[in-house]
């Protein structure tokens, strides 16, 4: 199909990984045959989230960290429509950490594209949950300390059924994984290493490029144990590609009310009379 999602020009720093992210999102949407009206994009707050404004589509740009519960509500109202969420490491893993866990646990049918630059760009250079312990900022002049959050491991532990990792410097791989994530029925995370050229002088394009290494054919993405072992190993390289994929009932499968048509089609025709049988219980 011919695809045109062009909308507002994005306003990122020249060289920002988000430009590559945007190109790949559009290519993946086109490749997945999703026209502008065929999906709903739900975003949060942060530089990566601003990507939504540059895509012609149905968009709900919500609060910081709250894209996923909002998407859950969209799914309850219309489980037939494809959901795509784009945001960053601060949004999904800090402010929205609780929601991330529970959306994955429920296996909400959504493709989640996390632009992970390990820093807060919108607020100008604070540490994100994925920042390394040595990363220094004015708030953390002696380093962030602790242990960086591991998004892939968190997603696996939380019940995500599609976990992938990629790098904006490898657009072919990234677009392919996004397409697979969109096609996946369930909670699909693509954690995307994306350089912030202004505020993260540690995890630069070169730093990511040196470490990002596609997983070899020896990795069995259908094995939960293999995926956990792969992503929890401390190593010099960061394996990219499809890390884990499983089939499990999606969130909406637990509702008999969501077996057929979307509630968004059915509910507007609901008659008040349908509650009459409930009265019996109170007699």
């Amino acid at each position: 199909m011919t695809c045109n999602y062009d909308f507002h020009q994005p306003q990122w720093c020249p060289g920002c990984g988000n430009f590559d992210l945007l190109v790949c999102v559009k290519d993946a949407l086109c490749g997945a045959n999703l026209g502008p009206r065929d999906f709903i994009m739900v975003t949060g707050i942060g530089q990566a989230s601003k990507l939504g404004f540059s895509v012609k589509c149905n968009l709900f740009n919500g609060l910081h960290g709250r894209a996923l519960p909002l998407a859950t509500g969209v799914n309850m109202a219309n489980h037939k429509v494809k959901l795509i969420s784009v945001s960053g490491d601060g949004d999904y893993y800090a402010e929205g950490g609780n929601h991330f866990i529970h959306a994955a646990r429920r296996n909400l049918n959504i493709a989640v594209f996390a632009g992970d630059n390990r820093v807060y760009g919108l607020t100008k250079g604070q540490a994100s949950p994925t920042a390394s312990p040595e990363f220094t900022t004015p708030i953390h002049p002696e380093g962030v300390g602790g242990k960086p959050l591991n998004p892939a491991l968190l997603a696996l532990a939380s019940g995500a059924t599609f976990v992938a990792r990629s790098f904006t410097g490898n657009k072919e791989e990234l677009t392919g994984l996004m397409k697979q994530a969109i096609a996946h029925r369930g909670f699909a995370l693509v954690d995307i290493m994306s350089p912030c050229i202004t505020f993260n002088k540690t995890n630069t394009f070169g730093w990511f490029k040196q470490r990002a290494k596609p997983v070899g054919p020896e990795h069995d993405a259908s094995s939960f144990d293999a995926a956990v072992s792969l992503v929890s190993r401390e190593q010099e390289t960061i394996p990219t590609g499809l890390l884990y994929k499983a089939d499990r009932p999606v969130y909406s499968d637990r509702f008999s009310a969501l077996k057929g048509e979307a509630l968004a089609r059915l509910a507007p025709a609901y008659s008040p009379d349908r509650v009459k049988p409930l009265f019996e219980k109170y007699k």
Binding site: F7, H8, G35, P36, R37, D38, F39, I40, V42, I45, K50, F53, K56, C57, N58, L59, F60, N61, G62, L63, R66, P69, L70, A71, T72, G73, V74, N75, M76, A77, N78, K80, V81, N98, H99, I101, H102, F255, S256, A257, L258, A262, L263, A264, R265, L266, A267, P268, Y270, P272, D273, R274, V275, K276, P277, L278, F279, Y282, K283
Partner: protein, 573 residues
């Protein structure tokens, strides 16, 4: 008013609730009007709980404190509740719970009465109910029928049999001098059926039914007293009625789920109590700026923070009028009884859809948990109006979701089910829903949104004035209204009463006109500061003479209301 009040008291887990259910349902089916109030602690076992079952031949809208009968399930309850028993009342207990008391009103049942299989405290509830029924001159078969209906399938057959045998045996124990038939008879059943066409519903039951009748399709909440029963009721009815109900990971998620559901085209709501509403604050503003219709239920309880989890209060009014940062339109409405709890809950969705705003439906724990008999709700009275939608375009096109209009309301569309592309944004945005901080656009969009306030206020009815024309007017809302009205009528209806259901936004002219001519305006609210009075001062320029507040967390009884009126007449409000 002719009535009988039965207090059933005991520890959590002893069957206070079940006994109340049996008694309430039985009285309903006999054709009586019933009001049941709960007084319980936040614990699963032990402690001291009681339930007041009041019945009459007239409709009841309030609990009373004074008991005509006390059913004490343990010794502690005899000691704690005997003080509220009328001088001519009767208290029933098992012999073991009597202790050394010699009160003339106490009737202790020896454990030997009834079948072998029904011995001990476990059978106290059903045995004391049987004593009560015999005392009221009701046939034991009536109680046995209710016990059977409620417990068949829930209890093992032999246990059910023991209960039924106990009912029959204990009834014979009551002496003739203790049998006093009620001085009133149920009015002739107008519509027949097992309950004369009436329902015995809690405030929350009524709200749940009202939401379902309005066509709600998405509901979310995080368990919190006193809102949890709505999650239960809608959740259980969900598969049958086509409602998707979720127990969210927190209240922030609950409201965002409702916003997402509404954006995607379904009437959506969430519910909690004050603490949950505090957590929702930022998302309330999200519904405001994205102009997403959503109904938010608040079952108020005694705050702040955890406060008293199972105790009532009316202290969230001003917090909800102001909740969330920034300025945006919202509506606050509150049910004054169990009829409003149904009809107004349904209407809340029309308000949300008509004005595309968050609507707070504010109840209080006292009313949420109290049950009363109501005439079966008339479903033909439930109006469903989804508001303004944009006509479908020929091809895919960007909807001017925030088109500037005179009313402030812009036509909406359902994303993915229409050719419109619908964009909503938590930032200030242009007409197409895309972020901008342009100053002229800001003024246009903010003024557009805020214009809804005047339109909404004009569309809302003002306060209802009961007993008009008296020198003083008492202003009330929520569960305060029922007991206050009964107390006022007992005092010869010497006060006018203004009932506020539509609390925000207020039309100052309409409110001032309704309250004109009174020499004194006095708020009666279950809070410390008199929040309704402050709101009326702020938005309508009205000055209250005084505030009669009660904030002990207990349901306002008719006696409490009489005492508040007394303090007013004594000149020391």
């Amino acid at each position: 008013m002719n009535h009988i009040n039965v207090v059933i008291a005991g520890a959590a887990g002893q069957g206070v609730q079940s006994a109340g259910d049996i008694l309430g349902k039985t009285l309903l089916r006999l054709g009586y009007q019933v009001f049941i109030a709960q007084d319980y602690q936040s614990r699963v076992r032990g402690g001291h709980n009681f339930i007041s079952v009041r019945f009459s031949d007239e409709p009841l809208a309030a609990p009373v404190r004074r008991a005509d009968y006390l059913l004490a399930l343990n010794e502690e309850s005899v000691g704690l509740r005997l003080g509220e028993l009328a001088p001519e009342g009767l208290a029933f207990c098992l012999e073991a719970a009597k202790g050394s008391r010699t009160d003339q009103r106490l009737r202790a049942l020896p454990d030997s009465v009834g079948p072998e299989a029904a011995r001990g405290e476990k059978f106290a509830a059903v045995k004391l109910l049987s004593m009560l029924f015999a005392g009221l001159g009701f046939k034991p078969e009536v109680l046995a029928g209710s016990v059977k209906k409620i417990f068949e399938g829930r209890l093992k057959p032999e246990l059910l049999r023991a209960n039924l045998d106990a009912v029959a045996a204990v009834a014979a124990f009551i002496e003739a001098k203790d049998v006093r038939a009620p001085a009133f008879q149920p009015k002739a059943a107008a519509r027949g059926g097992p309950s004369a066409g009436r329902l015995l519903v809690s405030g929350n039951d009524a709200v749940s039914l009202g939401m379902a009748a309005a066509g709600a399709g998405v509901y979310a909440g995080y368990p919190m007293t006193p809102s949890t029963s709505i999650l239960n009721t809608l959740g259980t009815a969900g598969p049958r009625l086509g409602i998707a109900v979720e127990q969210a990971e927190d209240e922030i998620a609950a409201l965002n789920i409702a916003i997402g559901g509404s954006y995607a085209g379904v009437r959506s709501a969430c519910g909690s109590s004050g603490a949950g509403l505090s957590l929702m604050a930022e998302s309330i503003g999200l519904a405001g700026i994205t102009e997403t219709p959503v109904v938010i239920y608040d079952g108020q309880r005694a705050g702040p923070a955890i406060g008293m989890a199972t105790r009532t209060e009316q202290s969230d009014l001003l917090p909800l009028v102001h909740s969330s940062h920034g300025e945006f339109p919202r509506a606050v409405i509150s049910p004054a009884d169990h009829y409003d709890s149904f009809y107004l809950a349904a209407e809340a969705f029309n308000i949300a859809d008509a004005w595309q705003v968050p609507v707070f439906f504010v109840n209080d724990l006292g009313q949420a948990g109290s049950e009363r008999s109501v005439e079966e709700y008339d479903l033909s009275r439930v109006r469903v109006d989804r508001g303004l939608f944009a006509p479908e375009p020929a091809g895919t096109a960007m909807l001017a979701r925030y088109a500037v209009t005179e009313s402030g309301v812009s036509p909406r569309a359902v994303p993915a089910l229409s050719n419109w592309l619908v964009s909503c944004d938590s930032h200030e945005h242009d007409e197409n829903g895309r972020l901008t901080d342009d100053k002229d656009n800001r003024v246009r969009q903010q003024a557009k949104r805020m214009r809804k306030l005047a339109g909404m206020a004009a569309s809302f009815p003002g306060p209802e004035i009961l007993n008009p024309g008296k020198p003083d007017c008492l202003l009330a809302w929520g569960s305060t209204v029922g007991p206050l009205l009964e107390a006022v009528n007992m005092r010869g209806a010497a006060f006018s009463v203004a009932v506020f259901r539509y609390l925000f936004p207020l039309d100052p002219e309409k409110v001032r006109r309704a309250l004109a001519g009174f020499s004194r305006l006095i708020t009666v609210e279950q809070n410390y500061t008199g929040q309704l009075g402050k709101l009326l001062a702020m938005d309508c320029g009205l000055r209250m003479h005084s505030h009669l507040g009660k904030y002990d967390g207990r349901n306002l009884t008719v006696e409490d209301a009489l005492e508040l009126l007394g303090s007013l007449e004594g000149g020391k409000p």
